[in-house]
């Protein structure tokens, strides 16, 4: 964000613009637009630090100051009015803005939509600049850790049901991290930047992380080593209990608050039967600025073969995750302050949520399907309406409409006289399980020959019974 003096200077200039337009009796629309800009500048100046005021537009300003060092990945654009706009970076900030604009204090919802990052894409691992996210969030003032535990249960359920192989859900708490930094002797103003460095531990060795802390970010070796000691710890409720007794860490009130909540969380996770995959991991740091409490990240344990880097990737962040696991497929945490940043009065709505990387997950599922040579059915069609002889297009269309009207997913080939063989082949290729075959004889007898593609069995079914028979056969399979 611009500093105070800059904003005050801009307000002065903008005030002149408005006065001039009013003096010239310019048209109302133009004046309104300039007044809006003035109010926006004044709002930016706002009250104290914790109480930013925004004119609520889906604009660059909405995204500024929420993503920490990741902000460089925001896609900027200018609209025709010259305003600075950005493409949506994630679904969390827009969700918080939506709650504030509509004064919603209480909601649970999911949202699947596209987001954009100016990152180095890695197609082979399902990493693109434009990609879908799938978010689930619970907003509202509730008793501690209950919605948080539900989010973890949901991640556990999704990753288990999709059969993506073994996985872990790492959890930590922003307050434990901050408390740890404080007792290790990291200066307050360096918490966020050191947090970003810790966040790299899943991709870099401790030695390199330490190097960055000492050489780039100015920590003493001693402080870095103390951090290194803590961030190597992993466990469950037992670790939270042990750290509550830690002579150093227990001196931090906020670390203790985080550790008490962590214990509470694990007790709920036991009830939800998901502790087998959840690990309290002090190295988990997530780079985003908006988290205030629990944070978590799900990683798949399976390792993919190292892909050949493309020339584009060679120019970019090579080595970042070449040949290692697909890594994070979901992440999230608690962000109790974000909605308040968009509310004119700073009214807070506590939130906790999770973001599922569905494109990464899809890319893994596709690779699995390819590897297993399993045939993926590409259609939901239950039955193809076919004919054995020529000149039966009209009869085929009539029967197709009958089936559609009865709620059957039916298909017909768009040819006047398709060969029976090509109709049957179409079913085999696309995985349509049934064929309803019409011929002169069948029409005379008021029946349809119903064929099961897999077994090639055929049986005459009366026209009146056809819908029920198709429903019966497709519900069995």
């Amino acid at each position: 964000m611009a500093d105070k003096a800059q904003i005050q200077a801009a307000i002065k200039v903008q005030g002149e613009v408005v006065r001039k337009l009013k003096a010239e009796k310019a048209n109302k629309e133009q004046i309104d637009e300039e007044v809006a800009k003035l109010l926006e500048l004044k709002a930016q100046l706002g009250g104290d630090e914790g109480k930013h005021q925004f004119v609520l537009k889906t604009a660059k300003e909405t995204l500024t100051g929420k993503y920490g060092e990741d902000s460089k990945l925001i896609y900027d654009l200018k609209d025709q009015g010259g305003e600075l706009l950005s493409l949506r970076y994630d679904l969390t900030v827009p969700f918080a803005r939506y709650l504030a604009m509509n004064k919603i204090t209480n909601i649970k919802r999911y949202h699947i939509a596209k987001v954009y990052r100016r990152d180095n894409p890695a197609m082979t691992r399902g990493r693109y600049r434009e990609f879908y996210q799938c978010d689930f969030d619970i907003a509202g003032q509730y008793d501690p850790m209950i919605p948080d535990a539900e989010c973890l249960k949901i991640v556990h359920e999704i990753l288990s049901e999709l059969e993506l192989g073994d996985f872990r859900i790492k959890v930590n708490d922003r307050r434990i991290l901050d408390g740890m930094f404080a007792v290790c002797g990291v200066p307050d103003e360096k918490f966020r930047t050191i947090c970003s460095t810790v966040d790299k531990l899943d991709k870099m060795a401790w030695e390199d992380v330490k190097n960055e802390m000492v050489k780039d970010k100015g920590l003493s070796e001693e402080v870095a080593d103390q951090i290194g000691n803590y961030v190597s710890m992993q466990g469950g409720m037992d670790l939270a209990e042990r750290l509550l007794q830690d002579p150093k860490l227990s001196q931090s009130k906020q670390a203790c608050a985080g550790l008490m909540d962590m214990k509470q969380l694990f007790s709920y996770l036991e009830l939800f039967q998901v502790t087998d995959k959840v690990v309290f991991d002090l190295s988990l740091a997530r780079g985003l600025d908006y988290y205030t409490g629990i944070i978590y990240e799900a990683v798949l344990m399976q390792t993919l073969p190292a892909p050949t880097p493309t020339s584009q990737e060679q120019n970019g962040a090579v080595g970042e995750d070449a040949g290692v696991s697909v890594g994070s497929v979901a992440g999230g945490g608690r962000y109790d302050g974000l909605v308040g940043m968009f509310d004119p009065k700073g009214k807070k709505v506590p939130c906790v949520g999770v973001s599922i990387g569905i494109e990464r997950i899809f890319s893994i599922m596709e690779q699995k399907a390819e590897a297993s040579a399993e045939k993926v059915r590409t259609t939901e069609t239950q039955v193809l309406v076919a004919s054995a002889q020529k000149n039966l297009l009209e009869e085929r269309l009539r029967l197709t409409a009958e089936l559609w009207n009865a709620g059957i997913k039916a298909e017909v080939m768009y040819k006047k006289n398709p060969k029976l063989l090509s109709q049957l082949q179409h079913c085999e290729e696309t995985g349509i399980p049934l064929v309803a075959i019409l011929g002169e004889q069948e029409l005379k007898d008021g029946v349809v020959k119903l064929r099961t593609v897999a077994t090639r069995e055929e049986a005459d079914v009366s026209r009146a019974e056809l819908v029920n028979e198709i429903k019966k056969r497709t519900s069995e399979s």
Copy 2:
């Protein structure tokens, strides 16, 4: 599109840029980027008019020359590289581009996504600058009018099942329009612009449309009147047959081809039982350039109360549809040339599709729901897990997890000790039909008190039977 001389000049300059970079041994990425620009310019120059060549990027150039006079509604943006980009105007052009890029000659799919128009929004009637479209398209070389008839059947089915009131689907054919313009004496180069004017007949009186043809577009009164005679005609298969006998129109080969297909179409529509709502209407013109055959548009007959125009609308296109019907809710047609425009060799893939204005439809459904004071259920939750006494949070969470694991949509309040009354009220407000109530006694007896919210009936159900009982009760309702 820029003219040939401009492009040739640009190619010369760009050639110099590339040569200079190569001489300087600039980095590969930079050279590649400039070479790509050069190739793009050369592609624009391309071969003959009907065989445009594009470097396939999702950029402004993709959208240029596809939308006729509607092009002014395209949102332009610049990316950080300074390239001219646009926001997606519809889903048809991106679909055609996708087919060409992936060499797909055969597909049937739907797509729901956002599109953007720099139009005057009219919130009260569900018209926004950013809105969802829902498209269904059939691509491939097939026998005439079969996929076209299926598209109309789908529109008929959607509008019937949503119970939006009476509707009509107007159909016409670009070839009939062009033939009509030709036999009326409209010069070739004015077909498209006169087509745009005819397209306004659903919003303007004939007198005003004629005025525009004569005063703005330079037709003679006589020519305009001849057009006026045709565009007042409406009918079904009978009209197609009559026009095939029309001494003037039957002189146009392309009009006859269109009329023959129209007859064919109506014969299929009869088999699909949808002729009650489909009208062959010669005034239907749709402004977009890419249609080559049949075109159609669905309109609701119901009239909404005239909303009070907002100040924003007053500045804009007031009167355009103030107090009239909500108008078009779906439209589409055949576009056999569009895919070929994106293919390097101009290879054509015939397509027909329909676009459903889902936000308009939603806005109508919401107004209907409000008017009928019908309670809309806001959740899919089948059962709330509740407790009658204090200190049962853990038991509630345990039961909730049991139900989730069995595939039941269950919810639990995120409070340690919620009052039973507030739990029951939550169900009434959100429409959750069942409550599973736990108490000390129920836990001792191994049962759950299952309450039906609507009737307030309660019955003890054994824990082992609970999942089946919930499934049974929710499938009944």
